[in-house]
């Protein structure tokens, strides 16, 4: 049997003090930084990360080492290393537990990344709605300074780095990297035109790397164990491991850190299956912005290539699982309301489109109108998809188009019945267990 689970970042989360400096040092913590800063040149670090094949864990999958290599050198400008800890894509719930239980591995990754791109000021942009994460990060940064892993002349290498924890204030769009940079500059968080890309003109118009928490936290293990070790997990084009976050109607939801390419069927096996007496209806492979899958897709290997060829996106591996009691129209409407609420208002297709989508959807859910309503919905989607200024717009139409593709008849049933045919009380975790209902 091939090795499936790969607890790397989560390897010591069952230890009471996993989040402290002492706890982290017990598991080879801060040994990779010594190797990087005292035995390797910055370019060698970039090379190692490039060859490991690590791809961005924030949803886009861009190769991390390649991104670092885009930072111009000898340009005389300051460089910035920014960690995207805004985690707000519905379903995504991996970075928050990582920062709660393992903030020091993230900090070690930040020091290594900053050294590689020659940055002396790094930031963690963390979403504001999780107070305890702010506490853990602030304490970990203080500990790292005191131990000499941050600040001046780190480990006697001559390398200086300051790290600032920056707490956001509630805006999903600030997870989009250019909106994040505007927000970090003290502005409304709205996406920027690209080019120029952040690698050339990012924070304060200087070369900037923006990386997801999980991407950065994966770097120390790569330096400790080597790029070849990393490639023993995952597939040729999607190497390594990552969190698969199971939520919803599953028996044991939670974080499963595994090699990329694992399937939902395999994960459900480990998680005790769909909740007792029920069966899988639909799921998101990578958060609400990735087109829905159904039980047809149980065996799709969850890596970048295979999910894409099956018509969706690996995204953040946020596997939100819904059983047959759930109305797909209710689910997609709620996501649509989310996108309308979070649309930053910069571009017309998204700002206006998401508003009208909600209006049309509410009518549909209430069983009003006829099949033309469905076409109108798809028509509005057409006007957003590919025409919006940033990827939020494309994400907004994903649940709609995919749910109509797989469950068109369920939409029509709302129209036939003049309302929702489902009983919402059956979807809750406290709904009485079904006895032989199917």
């Amino acid at each position: 049997m091939t090795l499936k689970l790969a607890p790397v970042l989560s390897r010591a989360w069952d230890e009471q003090d996993s989040y402290t400096l002492e706890g982290y040092r017990r598991r080879e913590g801060y040994t990779a930084i010594r190797k990087a800063l005292t035995e390797m040149t910055p370019d060698e670090v970039i090379g190692e990360v490039k060859e490991s094949g690590l791809r961005g864990r924030g949803g886009g999958g861009f190769p991390t080492g390649v991104k670092w290599s885009f930072i111009p050198q000898g340009d005389g400008k300051p460089h910035y290393f920014v960690v995207n800890a805004d985690e707000s894509e519905p379903g995504t719930c991996k970075d928050i537990p990582t920062m709660l239980a393992n903030p020091h591995e993230l900090i070690e990754g930040i020091v290594i990344g900053s050294y590689a791109i020659r940055s002396h000021q790094a930031f963690i942009y963390v979403r504001g709605e999780v107070t305890h994460v702010a506490r853990r990060l602030l304490a970990a940064v203080r500990e790292a300074y005191a131990a000499g892993f941050l600040g001046k002349d780190i480990l006697g290498s001559g390398f200086d780095l300051d790290l600032t924890v920056h707490v956001g204030a509630g805006a999903y769009i600030c997870g989009e990297e250019t909106a994040l940079l505007d927000s970090l500059e003290g502005r409304r968080g709205q996406p920027r035109n690209r080019p120029p890309f952040p690698a050339v003109e990012g924070l304060y118009a200087s070369p900037t790397v923006v990386n997801n928490v999980e991407s950065v936290a994966s770097v120390p293990s790569i330096l400790r164990n080597g790029k070849d070790w990393f490639r023993t997990f995952g597939s040729e084009k999607s190497p390594g491991f990552g969190f698969f976050s199971l939520s919803g109607h599953v028996t044991r939801p939670g974080q499963y850190e595994a090699g990329l390419g694992v399937t939902l069927r395999e994960l459900l096996d480990l998680a005790g299956g769909i909740r007792h007496g029920h069966r899988l209806k639909f799921w998101t492979p990578g958060g609400s912005s990735t087109p829905l899958f159904t039980d047809e897709h149980l065996d799709v290997p969850l890596d970048f290539e295979n999910v894409a060829s099956a018509g969706s996106i690996l995204g953040t591996r946020a596997l939100q699982v819904f059983d047959e009691t759930t109305c797909v129209v209710r689910a997609a409407l709620r996501w649509t309301e989310f996108y309308a609420h979070e649309s930053c208002g910069k571009c017309t297709p998204c700002r206006e489109g998401t508003y009208w989508l909600v209006q049309a959807y509410r009518r549909l859910e209430a069983g009003q109108g006829d099949e033309a309503e469905l076409e109108k919905l798809l028509d509005i989607c057409d006007n957003i998809n590919g025409r919006a200024f940033c990827a939020l717009g494309d994400g907004a139409v994903s649940p709609i188009v995919s749910s109509i593709k797989y469950f068109r008849d369920e939409y029509l049933e709302h129209l036939r019945q003049g309302g929702c045919p489902f009983d919402p009380s059956r979807t809750t975790v406290w709904a009485p267990a079904l006895t032989g209902a199917y």
Partner: protein
């Protein structure tokens, strides 16, 4: 009725009294020192003024503008963009119920409906002091439905002052708000005992909790280590 509700332009804010300003300055200067460019301090400064008053007032906006050499219009434009900055006074506690799809389906909708009825408030409203709860000791809370809080494996999820309350039910939710209104200590699932909304906002401005032990609060959640446990049982490590 306030001038805003009457549709009148707000009277220019006078700004904080000198003593408040001097006290805030100590924290504000520390915030500004964290950044290579001053304006970057705006988001934490807005959290800081919110920790002073429980919302972002005209005075708070003026304070931030003066500190950062911005106009009050520039600061307002930023403050109104972000949902965590409140334009009306938040109660002693901010209570959030996640009603994004996953939590809603697993019970968040029912919890939110239950709490609205139990507390007699609508979304984004604050309870009257002592509302409906006999033993309430002058505490109040603001109820709000919130978006996905990155805790979906613990659905349905609630927050109090943005501390995580996992695996909630309508009954647990009612008990939670009753405890808050009665001034009883409430401990987060993954976090310490809840402090006041204003104290919390100071942490979000980037200052460590004044309670030294708070950082150690919270137990290891089974959901966070479920995969690790399976791996251990199967003898798989990386």
């Amino acid at each position: 009725m306030s001038t805003a509700e009457l549709g009148l332009p707000a009277v220019p804010a006078k700004g904080y009294p000198q003593d408040v300003k001097e006290r805030l300055d100590q924290d504000a200067d520390a915030v500004i020192a964290r950044y290579p460019v001053k304006r970057s301090a705006l988001l934490p400064l807005l959290h800081l003024v919110q920790s002073e008053e429980g919302f972002v007032s005209g005075d708070g906006i003026k304070y931030c503008a003066d500190k950062l050499d911005l106009t009050t219009a520039e600061v307002s434009g930023v403050a109104t963009f972000y949902s965590m900055y409140k334009r009306r006074q938040v109660g002693d506690y901010h209570v959030g119920v996640c009603t994004n799809t996953l939590c809603a389906v697993l019970g968040g909708d029912e919890i939110f409906a239950t709490l609205k009825e139990h507390l007699g408030v609508e979304n984004d409203q604050r309870t009257e002091v002592s509302a409906g709860v006999p033993e309430a000791q002058g505490k109040s809370l603001t109820l709000e439905h919130i978006e996905c809080n990155a805790a979906c494996d613990f659905a349905p999820v609630m927050t109090v002052n943005w501390e995580l309350f996992d695996n909630m039910t309508p009954e647990k939710a009612k008990q939670l708000v009753d405890d808050l209104l009665a001034g009883r200590e409430v401990v987060a699932s993954r976090g310490p005992a809840v402090c006041s909304f204003r104290e919390t906002e100071r942490i979000l401005a980037g200052f460590e909790d004044r309670r030294e032990d708070a950082v150690h609060g919270g137990t290891i959640a089974p959901e966070s280590i479920v995969g690790l446990r399976v791996a251990q049982a199967r003898g798989e490590s990386a």
